[in-house]
Amino acid sequence: MDFSWLQDGFYQEYLIEGFINTLWLLVVSAIGGLMLAVAVAMARLKGPRPLAMLAKGFTIVMRGTPLLVQLFFFYYGVGRLLEGIPGIQDSPIWPILRDPFFYGALTFTLSVGAYSGEVLRGALANVPQGEREAGRAFGMSPFQVFSRLWLPRAIQLCLPTLTGEMILLLKSVPLVSTIALMDLLQAANIIRDETFLVYEPLMLIAGIYLAMTVVLTLVLRQVERHFPGMQPTRRRWLPSRHMEPSSCKD
């Protein structure tokens, strides 16, 4: 095992940039994705029929196709189409539309929105009707019922599943190395190509991911513990893969 390349300033910079990009992608897509998930879940439960159908179709397509295919579709497919629009290259948003980070964040946001939206839909549907009626009886507006009662209760029901989704999101981030975005894996690929060392960079990245998974699990566990009304549950260390929505029932 030869780790002498770690001394090299260039490689350190690659790794740090990769690490920062990885974290950023995780944070941006987690926040955007969870907001989208609430919208998708509500659209399916309460939206007018066309909107509910649209949300359902979105969920089926995003959950039924590989994330890598989606990433290529948005980056190469949609990205190239946008390129062809006359005048767009002079517009102020072009630097964003050219950036692979944008497409990575977009794809992950949509993906989290679909998977977590399905989880949330199950949870929202399982909040007893009586609790919402109680809120109305106390004179809350429908929005207040939603933001103070319905949504928090639903999150309470499926928080472990949602935190599991976040760990799965972390593990999807290396896919962006295929669209030439400098994440940790891309940094490792560059180091591998330049030093001809196959294992060491990849092992390092695997170690970093292992550590990140552990840290994220601990952080999310604290979130769960401090969420009002959560029973501290004994949980297994890692989530199993994307759970069926029904796992959110109790």
Binding site: I60, V61, R63, G64, T65, P66, L67, L68, V69, Q70, F72, F73, Y76, G77, V78, R80, L81, G122, A125, N126, L170, K171, S172, V173, P174, L175, S177, T178, L185, V198, Y199, L202, M203, I205, A206, Y209, L210, T213, V214, W237, L238, S240, R241, H242, M243, E244, S246, K249
Partner: protein, 237 residues
């Protein structure tokens, strides 16, 4: 511009279908091997012998904590180097270039086995103890107990997780394109690059994967209904 886009979807239909077939072959084989690995892993995790339990726990935990793409790349290189070392040790000089198909199946099965271990372990633990004790009381041999009692009693619990893993496996096969083996998504990438109709071909890829996953879901639903026969109905919320 126009002369490159004359080659269209139809010209690539043959290779793409071929690629889809390869993807299905990889997935079916990897699933079968992953199922066996999962059975071995689950029995190891439930074994009374601590070292065996520890080994299985390390396998399933480490594989589940590291991103699949990273594992696939790592195992791809590790696999060919390990085989080269092995053949050199037997006195055969030179590099071993492993067949892409074998690597793809091996790597995906290895990852799949770790997840399957957890699914099967949970399902086996959910079997009421009395059923196993009854089998012992009737003097069943270990094998008879396994295939007469354990498997049928565990399947209703395991099948939802197993169908989930199959869908994930189908989607994970696309990752194989990263190591350059020409399955469905690699063929699509080539088609998109050569025709420059990126939007069209990646959308087509999405449709093909969607057809595979949706028909698998339908199949698994029927299978689930079959293994659940005779059990009380689960009320759906």
């Amino acid at each position: 511009m126009d002369n490159v886009s004359q080659e269209g979807l139809l010209d690539w239909a043959g290779p793409i279908l071929q690629g889809a077939l390869t993807t299905l072959e990889i997935a079916v084989l990897a699933y079968a091997i992953g199922l066996m690995l999962g059975l071995i892993g689950a029995s190891a995790r439930l074994s009374p012998w601590a070292p065996l339990r520890g080994l299985a726990t390390v396998y399933s935990t480490a594989v589940r904590a590291v991103p699949e793409l990273l594992l696939i790349i790592l195992l791809y290189y590790a696999g060919s180097q390990a085989l080269t070392a092995l053949t050199n040790a037997f006195g055969l000089p030179g590099q071993v270039a492993i067949n892409g198909f074998v690597t793809a199946v091996g790597v995906l099965a290895f990852v799949q086995g770790a997840y399957m271990t957890e699914v099967l372990r949970g399902a086996i633990l959910a079997i009421p103890r009395g059923q196993l004790e009854a089998a012992d009381a009737f003097g069943f041999s270990a094998w008879t107990r396994f295939h007469r009692i354990v498997v049928p009693a565990m399947l209703p619990n395991a099948l939802p997780g197993m169908s989930n893993l199959w869908l994930i496996l189908i989607k994970d096969t696309a990752l194989i394109s990263v190591i350059g083996f020409s399955e469905l998504f690699f063929t699509i990438q080539q088609a998109a690059a050569s025709t420059r109709a990126h939007f069209l071909f990646y959308a087509a890829a999405g449709v093909i994967y969607l057809i595979i996953t949706l028909s698998s879901t339908a199949l698994f639903t029927r299978l689930e209904r079959r293994v659940r026969r005779g059990l009380p109905h689960q009320e759906e919320a």
